[in-house]
Symmetry: D2
Subunit: 139 residues, 4 copies
């Protein structure tokens, strides 16, 4: 855990955990061979912007133990399809195998023009399948 993620109580400032969740999700996609440009807007101009937007519709976190600067946390993530256009990712943060925090991020697939629900992008779908049979390990 980085010094810049602490606050004057001496421990992790709460919402930084949700930043780490998102970054762990980005890393997991990347390990599975999904490039940032397939999923995220704003990548290099020679890459077509993604045709499906994935706004976060819900997030939550539970803080079980204080997290200090210098703590080396392990994060495990477990995605689940909720319906054809929605999925969530559960994150578990551990320090020396003790659970210190949990997070959830839920995303909805929409057409960025009409903002109506659509099917989850194929790349995410493959990633969801892969995780269901256990091929994605802790980061």
């Amino acid at each position: 855990m980085r010094f810049g993620d602490t606050d004057a109580a001496g421990v992790m400032h709460f919402y930084q955990l949700l930043r780490w969740c998102h970054e762990a999700w980005e890393d997991s996609l990347n390990r599975y061979g999904i490039t940032a440009a397939e999923i995220f807007p704003g990548c290099r101009a020679d890459q077509a912007p993604p045709s499906i937007a994935l706004p976060i519709v819900h997030c939550e976190a539970d803080f079980l133990q204080p997290v200090h600067g210098g703590d080396q946390l392990a994060v495990t993530l477990k995605p689940a399809r909720l319906d054809p256009s929605q999925y969530e990712v559960n994150f578990l943060f551990q320090l020396d195998e003790i659970n210190v925090a949990k997070g959830i991020i839920r995303q909805l697939a929409i057409n960025p023009e009409t903002r109506r629900r659509c099917a989850i992008p194929e790349a995410i779908d493959r990633w969801l399948e892969a995780s269901a049979i256990g091929t994605i390990g802790p980061l």
Copy 2:
């Protein structure tokens, strides 16, 4: 909504909402005459640090509508005591009276040395009472 709170999707980056919740809570305490030094560690050295810590044990947010740079959001907050050592604050964000997002922050009162639960600090207790009878308005 500030430019620095957006991301490359062109709208608010999700966890910034939880920052706004915390800031709205700080503002509400302040309006009710509770100084930062009564509640938060790290204030000026001539002020005794608070004898009770209030770690956030849970937070969540629902994102109902996209929030754009320049949007003038109104936030309403509604605190509730959950048990003698725990309370939560519900936040509603509106744009032109349309609900755009909701947030919840739950805090536990503990002794900062022993890290065991204790009674909610008196100042917070007064603030919870006041809100129950409706004297705190939208920020």
Copy 3:
């Protein structure tokens, strides 16, 4: 100063100052009647995106005194045109009339397509003129 802007040293975490500089600049434009949509991309879709981009090309900050949670800082800003396509804004942060920090943000006007320099947008130009004759006060 907000609790979320501190770190475990008990004082403001350094780069938050540059966030405040940018926000103070946004507030100053706004007071002068310049809407966010005139300057920033990502505003409401019924507003045309700005035809000139203003990337930050340089920023710096000097930290003169520790800033604590609960400190009520005053910020004064002083913009200056550097050349026809470049300007900078100097920010001074004070606590009880004592200087606690300074910041500078320098921005370049470019065509967002070609990324070549162009003239500073007219709205910013008017704001620069106004400040030169002293009509913008401390925030």
Copy 4:
């Protein structure tokens, strides 16, 4: 570069670069065998807090090229002692060997009680020596 570090202009939001500088510095110390607890307050309670504080007194950044989500930047850092109680670290960010940004962080060694200048901590001193003879590579 992470999606959460962008803004609605589609590229890196400026002050995130200074966050990366600090994190690169933390990584460099760590690689050189200096634990977070030796340098940063707020680490685990079984570790004595550092007896010397290292507030940042100046920082700056130059932005040479836009940085997009998904860009894999390399960072090189070059520290220099300025006087017995002060040093700075220069950071260079490159994408495919093209310079995209530079940063500087300057820190002052002080006694945290008296807030008077003191000698740079021994661990940092060793790290400065090592870098002068070139044993710390790019991160």
